[in-house]
Symmetry: C2
């Protein structure tokens, strides 16, 4: 199963595509797409839509994984703007007929490190180990996208092997 | 100038299309489009995108007016979800090459009634008077969409006649 993790943002979106089998995950491609700072918000959103369309077309994932936004209450303005970008990303996935899975930040951390309160650095190091990367995943947008995709791979694998998956959080 | 006001929501979006000349505004069409409650968030967003595309195609507005979301800090979860819908609406407008104007709730109220803290009922009554409607505009999603479009018509008319428009708030 090919899983595309996306970390939504109005200025920068991170993405990471994994090939996930029952026990192993392999990183196919990761990167960021950025919007020009001098554009209006609607033009930025349109650029994001075009970039997502290109990614889906090129990478052809079977599933897209994103982080939930509800945990960002402390910066409501940022969370609302990220919501704009996230909405566009989800819509483009639906339009392309690709299933989307949403996971809370805590769920992602717990799925990768076993600890829902793991630090950014712990997440990065665990990702580096799991995927045998030559260096720590960076920038943080890419690390977050990989983390969402890895969490999704773990959850899907749990379902496939009939393991414990009562906590799968699909944002329906 | 034909102006389409949209009141974004994940369950219900209100819309209202005005034909605005220098001094008068006429209501062409208004209504709501709803999403099925049993759909996933991405499917709802896709339904909204399709409905917006149809509206833009049918009504061919020269400008779209929406309310800013930043004032909804007291209900961050709702504001974030509305942000998803708003993001999709703005992106579809940009994709169609239609200019978008965003106005704060206070600005809209002030533009219509002269009072930035006007009540919902005062807004409805003023709208009814300005547009010579047989009854109060309802539901609230439609009233809010008309209000955004009327505010936009006032601002644009101010610019056209070279009047005071230092407070025009375009969300760039």
């Amino acid at each position: 199963m090919r899983i595309l993790g996306i970390d939504p943002g109005l200025q920068v979106c991170g993405y990471a595509c994994l090939e996930a089998d029952r026990d192993t995950e392999r990183l196919i491609e990761a990167g960021v797409f950025k919007t020009s700072s001098d554009l209006s918000i609607e033009a930025k959103l349109n650029q994001i839509a075009e970039d997502v369309d290109l990614l889906l077309e090129k990478l052809r994932p079977g599933m897209v994984a994103v982080e939930q936004l509800y945990s960002h209450y402390t910066h409501p303005r940022t969370a609302i703007l990220m919501g704009h970008a996230r909405g566009v990303i989800l819509q483009r996935c639906a339009q392309a007929g690709i299933e989307v899975k949403s996971f809370s930040a805590t769920r992602i951390k717990k799925s990768i490190t076993g600890n829902g309160r793991a630090s950014k650095e712990q997440i990065q190091k665990t990702i580096q180990t799991i995927l045998s990367l030559p260096q720590l995943p960076e920038p943080s947008d890419v690390a977050d996208a990989i983390a969402a995709a890895l969490c999704c791979a773990n959850e899907v694998s749990n379902i496939l092997v009939g393991g414990a998956s009562p906590t799968l959080q699909s944002q329906k």
